[in-house]
Amino acid sequence: MKGGFKPRIVRNFVGTYRPKIDGWEKARGEAEYLDDIALKVRFPGMLYAKVLRSPYAHARIKSLDVSRAEQLPGVHAVLTYQDPEVASLKPTQGGWTPFFTTSYDRMTWPTYKDRRVLSDHVRWVGDEAGVVVAAESEGTAQEALRLVEVEWEVLPFVLDPFEAMKPGAPVIHPEINPNGNVLPPSPFADSEVFLESGDVEKGFAEADVIIEMESDYHHADHACLGTRGCLIHWEGDKLTCYTSYYQADQTRMHITQMLDLPLHKVRVINPYIGGSFGRGNTGEQPFFIFTAILAKRTRRPVLFKHTRREDFHDSRNKIIYHCKMGAKKDGTITAAHFKSIGDAGAYSDHTMAATDYCVRGDFTPGTLAHIPNLKMETYVAYTNKIPGGCKRGIGNNQINLVFGPAVDLLSEELGMDPVELAIKNFGHEWGPVPDESLEAVLHAGARRIGWENRHRPGAGPTYDGFKKRGLGFSFHNSWHALWQEVPRGHIQVSVRVNPDCTVILDAPTAETGTGSNTCNVLSCADALSFLGIGPEEIQWISHTDTERGLKDQVQTDSAIAFVQSEMMPKVGKIVREKVLQLAAAQFERKAEDLDIIDGQVFVKDTEEEKSVKDVLWQADLVPILATVSEPLPEEVTGTPFTATFVEVEVDTETGQVEVLRAVVVHDCGTVMYPPGAEGQQVGGQAMALGETLTEEIVYDETTGVPLNFNFIDYKLMTMLDCPEVDPVLLEVWKGAGEYAACGLGESVTTCTPAAVLNAIYNAVGVRIGTIPVKPEMVLAALGKIPDRVSQEERR
């Protein structure tokens, strides 16, 4: 925040403003990504794999002839779904795991094993079809695919989830549901109504005011600048894989389980990764498997890498919500009912996680816990479109898109300030209402945006003849406190203290840009500050490598900012004991007679002292090794809150919406690295506002062909489009462990779309429930042009 954030506990390094540890490496262009490793100058003989992509929204391969492709000079292998080593592969699922390493038989969604490696049944335009080739150049590989003769059986397709759920709709996954496109209920609930507490009918009967709200979130792409892929080569019976998917250990598990290999014969390396935002959570991708088979067959390194177009590969899940909420005149909410329609796209991946798993496990206990009567239900359907995975959380943005406006509308009907209504009703399961964190977050945001100046909907002054301004906000529980990370199991961290008192830190996790590496170095420096060293003396190992021995922490959520840091004090204790043992031998005293302060070893009862450096240098010159592998504390502390407040300007003549400024507030418990946290808060708005206003995947409805899988027509926010953002960091809530922290990387985007919708309403007095908000939607809502397709007609 401007002027700097003030930490609750002042530490030497954690919580301080300083450059990112990999800033120089990245600013010089020296940081290596998959693309910079997978070059022929580094891997002579490397082949390029290209997979056949479906030109149809829904089709089957009736027959194939690959003979011309095989004869093309430069082609080394053509692999098809008919080859025994492919046909015998198990069916798989795109989202085995939410965030920990999971085996095939323990995958999260065993009910929905709907992916095959190289299937003959393709389900969206661009789907990986039954042929992959490996050739000496990308161009030759592409040409070989052109020579593959395919006889397609073109099947009817469906793009709209409501149409997909109707009887008679084309069945997209008969192996999952032979009768329609609705996924069987979540294995965690066994029913579409996955959560029911109290009696909602009774709750609504007790209410004086009842409101209903609808929202429609779209399949927003991750659009990371670095595209996904892998380079695989074999040495004898050992496979090595470099990948831009951020879960090295889980990738190893996936490859070994699919190809029936022992774990020690697969090595997975994550170099730097060009952005992620959760996309790796659909990392159990068939392309690892066919690339491995091609590399084995050709005995050459094989690179499979998405082009920009191909990297439009998964997305934030499209979810349509209906929310009904009732309250008494005094603002006490008596009941709430949320019903969602999840549009999974062509594969289940993580859509049930978005509509059920995370709503049940995260938003409900985190925000709705004190609503006495609650009902949640979900219906997820396949359509012939891009699948939905995880993106900066799972399902949180989507439910917030209905929740934020519902709270706004309910407060209006009650004649209450929505800030007051929120504080009166919402809080997490493990604490009282009013929730201290929510109060602090909302009051800070309201103060900084100037909430007291908010006018009645549509009643503010007019600017430049046609423009109206409005304020709005939304709030949500933050994403991932320490106790929610317990399923990760043991957390492993190791340091080596060299004889010159410098340190090699092994806290393996792929660096995707989140800055958890800096958090780890700072917490390590705090834990080892008794050695008289700082972050400059600590070298972080930038590449994650399953062969180095320690389990990596998957960058699936922002808790990586502190889960490994929680091990640092334990590492520090081991190092202290070992240094004392070395010094004891040199002083010819017992270790308990000595102490270490600021890099000096003292004999407590005499004047004798010696620097740690001298102690280490005079010892056997073998680095001190300290390795910790421990589970996280299970103490349940609830979660803190986040809110986004925005001011928008709506041009009532053109329908254009401009966000003038945003205040993004997070209570983190402990801010590990303020410039990193603020970078998430500010940067997250570029993504969230893009999803709200400019980004949209457009399909040709007559063919199902996506029309804008490129960076010209899929409109990401640029430097000119982004408003001024005020990032506000608070430390009010307290979690467990050394740092008592909660993540924020996901929740920086959660509240923004709903805040913008509320601000548009405040500006012009009309509600819009669908994003992206396009000018024509605003004009239609204002009654200036006819509404092309009303929501009712669609249903």
Binding site: G29, K62, E678, Q685
Partner: protein, 193 residues
């Protein structure tokens, strides 16, 4: 493969790539010279590179100058920005042969302590975040900034935004990048560069 039911049709899956197209009617070879990061280098077109190869391809795939990135491959994101004769250009939409006789500067050619690199690396001023997160777009932003400051050594923030609006940063570090550019300009001014 002659059967065709009413619901079937045959398709070609891809057009010829530019790379393959050039292998058809091959023109006689000729040489081009490009001064890359201070040193003249000669390439035989048709042997060392194809006439259809982009400058990005030559720099990355043949010369291993991997600082620049090819992220969109169609001039929409700026990650491949390099300087040609001091001006920022997109190397993914420039043919290698177009650089014949010109001076090309990639990020590898900047001095270690270049003030723009320093400003991007060290930005941590409260309220803006860091000027880079994943770092994939960063070399493109650094080179676009070099191009801007060559033309306009004292830009306003609005001029910075205008000049860098062709570069995409999905992590959204724009506010911090703006600060870094202003800071680099100040530093270069003080150093008289």
């Amino acid at each position: 493969m002659s059967r065709m039911s009413d619901r079937s049709e045959r398709t070609s899956t891809a057009a010829l790539s530019t790379e393959e197209r050039s292998e058809g009617g091959r023109a006689p070879t000729y040489s081009i010279r490009i001064r890359i990061n201070g040193a003249w280098q000669e390439f035989e077109v048709g042997r060392d590179i194809e006439a259809s190869h982009t400058l990005a391809y030559l720099l990355r795939e043949r010369l291993g100058l991997t600082g620049l990135k090819v992220a969109c491959d169609e001039g929409a994101c700026g990650a491949c920005t390099v300087l040609m004769d001091g001006q920022a250009i997109l190397s993914c939409t420039t043919l290698a042969v177009e650089a014949d006789g010109h001076e090309v500067l990639t990020i590898e050619g900047l001095p270690e302590d270049d003030p723009v690199i320093e400003a991007f690396a060290e930005q941590c001023e409260p309220g803006f975040g860091t000027a880079l997160q994943c770092g994939y777009c960063t070399p493109g932003f650094v080179m676009a900034t070099k191009g801007l400051l060559n033309e306009n050594p004292h830009p306003t923030l609005d001029e910075v935004k205008e000049a860098l609006s062709g570069n995409l940063c999905r992590c959204g570090c724009y506010a911090a990048i703006g600060q870094a550019v202003l800071r680099a300009a100040d530093k270069m001014d003080r150093q008289g560069r």
